[in-house]
């Protein structure tokens, strides 16, 4: 019966498609399948040959050469004119800036045993600034958050982190806003900038650090510069976007009234894009927080150091306490800047009767803040946070207890889950990648790139594969790639399930989206902590953290894609008698194909950066190489090469998926 039913349906479906198109459409999955089959066959024949594996302590000529190069830079740092008059100068300026801010809020300054402004002054200032740029609610949040840092016993570390963020954001905005305005005004400059911005944002945070230490040594300066590079792009992009999006008529109206370029920039373009630019500043601050914490790897002071040390000694409690401080700082910074961007419009539209009291109240607040700062400079109780952070140690020990309980009682469950994924998915795939001859994997990658993205991305992939081989860490790169791809597959499964749900139901969207937004605010570092408690130090921990880190962005993109499907099309399908499943699989998912590829793209980039950070908790491979490079001088070259390999992987993933997305969109 069913067979009879199915047959006419099939012929019917095949008939209306234009012959040329149907050949193409069918052929792509078939070709991918063929490539995979050929790979498996050759793998069976050639397993273990020419795998380019390299033991942890082994080095290639390239690595040794980088080591020598690093040594020679170290030797000539104070004699080479390029360093003497350029890099060292930059380092000096940035160092001075960082030290200045640190002396203000975190480190003992000069003869004083405490910073210039003690905790009470900082808390007051944080509250006042939050109130002035945002509203009283975020001011309360800021006061509560900052006080909590002290209760956690992490006051000084938090202030170090904050000092670095302030410096980095200040420098980043100094460059980013003018560059953004320029990119907004000039198409040519915009085209010139875009690839650089793409690269700066697709690179996982960790790989910025090593090359910078080459020029700026380890410490605050390198950390700040790395943060500036990582955090500036969002503001540049968003400023350019905002300038571009100012209504053309308004600009034209200003022109028609005889405005000069300067006048239309100052009176029209900048005021009209202010709100959007503040959103860019928000993104920059969040990126800076993420980078500053991870810069602990190159000796940047602050909360990152606590997390890093605790992670490396598998001290979940301490890591959680410091991680919690980072999360709170993220929430405070995010809420305050978001409120700042919303404030202007809000104030304009509400005929709030408190508005006219705002000015005198702000003045009063300023006076109170000044008094608090004075107190904190004069009295020790207001300078040094009282107590010894008992709340922090309570949090740490409670977390430890919980972690122990979980490990004792749920290990059966978590281990089973971990082993299932590891043995069922990760290990076979990783073996396939690492045990195949390098040229076979390379050929497969290029072939897939050509099929998915076209010749151009094939060429990019070939170049990336060549360079990956040259870095000498091919085998580690394949391990990282296996983890990344497995995690991305899981991210996409989650993304599609939740994305479709959110796309179809506003209620689900309203419920889930705030959580996703919050999740995206966290620095990647912090994600490792809870999963370390659950799964111990393994590759799998990194993969789960990567999934949790990457899934929100995929879900959001897919949800938006599903929602963008025209309601009339869905209505037409419904009236044709489609059931829900058919609407999802035959209408909504195919029509949001470009959102799906975009989600894959973003998922891959997010996952890659997290998998790499996972090197800290036993994920090994490239992430470990990079981390080891920071701590062991003889592995410096290898670490740098591993960083380069990460970039190459990122570029390769990005190019292929973007090309595929363009195809899907066309």
């Amino acid at each position: 019966m069913t067979v009879v039913m199915e047959k006419p349906e099939k012929t019917e479906a095949a008939e209306p498609a234009a012959p040329a198109k149907s050949v193409r459409k069918v052929s792509r999955p078939v070709m991918i399948g063929a490539i995979l089959v050929v790979w498996l066959v050759l793998f069976a024949l050639l397993r273990g040959k020419q795998t380019l594996s390299l033991a942890v302590a082994d080095l290639t000529d390239l690595h040794r050469w980088i080591n020598d190069f690093n040594d020679s830079i170290g030797a000539n740092r104070n004699s080479n004119p390029l360093f003497l008059y350029f890099f060292n100068e930059i380092r000096l300026v940035i160092d001075n800036l960082v030290t200045f801010v640190q002396h203000l809020i975190s480190q003992p300054s000069g003869a004083r045993p405490v910073p210039e402004i003690g905790w009470l002054g900082v808390v007051g200032l944080a509250g006042f600034v939050s109130w002035a740029v945002g509203n009283w609610k975020v001011a309360l949040l800021a006061v509560a958050g900052f006080t909590f840092f002290g209760l956690q016993g992490l006051w000084q570390e938090s202030m170090d982190t904050l000092a670095l963020i302030l410096c980095a954001v200040f420098v980043a905005l100094l460059f980013a806003i003018p560059l953004g305005v320029w990119a907004g005004l000039s198409d040519r400059f915009n085209r010139l900038m875009t690839p650089f911005l793409d690269l700066m944002q697709t690179m996982p945070t960790m790989v910025y650090l090593a090359p910078l230490t080459l020029f700026f040594l380890i410490g605050g300066a390198s950390a700040t510069i790395a943060t500036v590079i990582y955090a500036a792009p969002p503001t540049i992009r968003i400023t350019a976007h905002a300038i571009r999006n100012v209504s053309r008529t308004t600009v034209e109206a200003a022109d028609s009234l005889g405005a000069t370029r300067r006048q239309s920039l100052l009176k029209v373009l900048l005021p009209m894009s202010k709100r959007t630019v503040v959103m860019g500043v928000n993104q920059t601050i969040m990126a800076a927080l993420a980078m500053v914490t991870i810069a602990a790897l190159i000796n940047a002071p602050g909360l990152g150091v606590n997390v890093l040390q605790a992670l490396q000694s598998l001290d979940v409690g301490t890591a959680f306490n410091a991680g919690l401080a980072i999360v709170i700082m993220a929430i405070v910074l995010d809420r305050v800047t978001t409120a700042a961007s919303a404030r202007e419009e809000h104030a304009r539209n509400s005929k709030n009767r408190f508005e006219k009291w705002r000015r005198p109240l702000l003045g009063a607040g300023a006076v109170v803040t000044v008094i608090l700062i004075y107190l904190s400079r004069t009295y020790l109780w207001a300078a040094d946070f009282p107590g010894d952070g008992t709340v922090g140690s309570h949090i740490a020990s409670a977390t430890d207890t919980a972690a122990t309980w979980v490990q004792d009682n749920l290990s059966g469950l978590t281990n089973a889950f971990r082993d299932a994924i590891t043995n069922g998915l990760l290990n076979p795939f990783q073996t396939l990648l690492t045990d195949s001859p390098w040229w076979l994997v390379g050929a497969v990658l290029v072939a897939l790139a050509v099929v998915l993205g076209g010749w151009k991305s094939g060429i990019t992939t070939a170049v990336c594969v060549g360079l990956l081989v040259a870095t000498g860490v091919w085998s580690d790169a394949m391990t990282t790639m296996a983890s990344t791809i497995v995690a991305t597959v899981l991210v996409m499964i989650l993304g599609i399930v939740f994305g479709v749900w959110m796309g179809r139901s506003m209620t689900a969207d309203r419920m889930i989206r705030p959580t996703l937004d919050a999740a995206q605010v966290m620095p990647p570092f912090v994600y490792l902590v809870p999963f370390l408690a659950l799964f111990g130090p393994t590759r799998f921990t990194a993969i789960v953290a990567a999934i949790v880190y990457g899934a929100p962005v995929a879900m959001k993109i897919i949800a938006d894609g599903i929602r963008a499907v025209p309601a009339t099309t869905v209505e037409a399908a419904t009236s044709a008698g489609c059931n829900t499943w058919q609407i999802i699989t035959k209408v909504q998912l195919p029509m949001s194909r470009s959102a799906l590829t975009l989600a894959t793209n973003q998922g891959l980039i997010y996952v890659l950066s997290m998998v790499v950070v996972g090197g800290l908790v036993g994920a090994g491979a490239l992430g470990y190489d990079v981390v080891a490079g920071f701590s062991q001088g003889e592995l410096y070259g290898k670490g740098l090469a591993a960083g380069l390999a990460i970039v190459l992987l990122g570029v390769m993933f990005d190019r292929i998926t973007q090309a595929a997305a363009r195809r899907a969109g066309a």
Binding site: S247, T249, T250, V251, E252, A253, A254, D255, S256, L257, G258, A259, T260, Q263, K267, V268, P271, M272, K274, E344, R348, N349
Partner: protein, 361 residues
């Protein structure tokens, strides 16, 4: 019985064709695309249709060889469907879009020769423009939006606020000075745009489809507002629209454009009475002819046996307004200009227009 004065003239600003034009446009071209400046000079390329030109050179000719004069105090309407180049044309007048070829003479000065400073000065003092999508500054209050052009000129705050306040009252926005544009309706926002244009006391007002984005009722209000302002301030106006009834309502003269070329330029009754080609004829087909045509278009030469002692009317009286007088008179009405008999209009002529829209003019 009826005298000429009893029938109102259609508009209060009669044309004075003898005066020197304020704006004089000659051979104006605007071509978009690669090597655009070669197109107007090439006789061969000029002859191509827009589509052929696109295929041959990749260029789009938005404005092709347009010429017209605008007299002082006149409301000059440029009408065409979307893509006819009318918006490009009006932007060429103040070089918001740089013309490719031709000349634009404003009060004896070729605007195309003006340097950047002079051009800015012209825009600040001589021209103002009202835009379809208003182009207001959302972060400024109404008063500051109106004063914006004055601020650009460098006028002091107190003085520009005073001037802006006057104009705000003139356009009927008193009471809304401190609102923000997004708190106003579309029609009110366009009043702000109008006030902004008037604030600088320019010689010429340019309107780029100012009412297309408004509801029909508000559109009618705003049209009446423009007519009222024209009476009060008497500015020269160049008005872009795609709406024929708007063109007929506002325009002293109307220029019809199609594919960048001018098809016909004349008064409303000339367009309806003597369409230049089928395109215009198709356009004006549905216009109630009695509302537009004047007696000049329907009068006939007196024949033997016509009684020539009927009442007199001027040749520019609109048919609709003459109907009652003609039908009431028991003899044909004489059409007289400056004491000279031009022709006569009887019941049949009037009825042919009023009853049947298909009368051949």
């Amino acid at each position: 019985m009826t005298t000429q004065t009893e029938v109102p003239q259609r508009r209060g600003t009669p044309q004075d064709s003898g005066s020197t034009p304020v704006i004089s446009v000659r051979r104006l071209w605007k071509v978009f695309g690669p090597k655009a400046d070669q197109v107007p000079d090439s006789e061969e390329l000029c002859g191509l249709t827009r589509r052929e030109l696109m295929d041959r050179t990749g260029c789009t000719a938005a404005v092709r060889d347009v010429h017209f004069d605008v007299s002082p105090g006149e409301v000059f309407v440029v009408m065409g469907l979307s893509g006819s180049g009318k918006s490009t044309l009006v932007r060429c007048l103040t070089r918001l879009i740089e013309p490719t070829a031709g000349e634009i003479v404003f009060e004896g000065e070729d605007i195309r020769q003006a340097d950047e400073k002079r051009l800015r000065d012209l825009r600040r003092r001589k021209f103002s423009m009202v835009f379809q999508h208003f182009g207001l500054l959302p972060h400024r209050r109404v008063l500051d939006n109106v004063a914006f052009g004055l601020e650009i000129r460098g006028m002091g705050r107190a003085e520009r606020t005073k001037r802006a306040q006057e104009v705000v009252e003139l356009v009927g926005l008193a009471g809304y000075e401190n609102s923000y544009p997004d708190q106003l309706s579309g029609g009110m926002q366009q009043r702000v745009g109008l006030a902004r244009a008037l604030a600088g006391d320019p010689d010429v007002l340019l309107f780029d489809e100012p009412f297309s984005a408004l509801d029909p009722l508000i559109r009618r209000d705003m049209q009446n507002e423009v007519i009222r302002l024209h009476h009060e301030v008497g500015k020269t106006m160049v008005f872009i629209t795609h709406d024929l009834s708007e063109a007929l309502k506002l325009g002293d003269r109307i220029l019809i454009m199609r594919d960048g070329k001018m098809v016909q330029c004349g008064t409303g009754d000339e367009l309806v009475g003597a369409p230049a080609d089928d395109y215009v004829r198709e356009f004006v087909k549905d216009v109630p002819r009695g509302d537009v045509l004047t007696l000049r278009w329907i009068m006939r030469s007196p024949e033997d046996g016509d009684a020539l002692d009927g009442p007199e009317l001027g040749p520019d009286v609109v048919v609709k307004e003459a109907t009652r007088a003609v039908l009431a008179a028991d003899k044909p009405v004489k059409v007289v200009e400056n004491g000279k008999l031009l022709g006569i209009v009887g019941d049949e002529e009037i009825l042919a227009v009023v009853a049947g829209q298909e009368g051949d003019a």
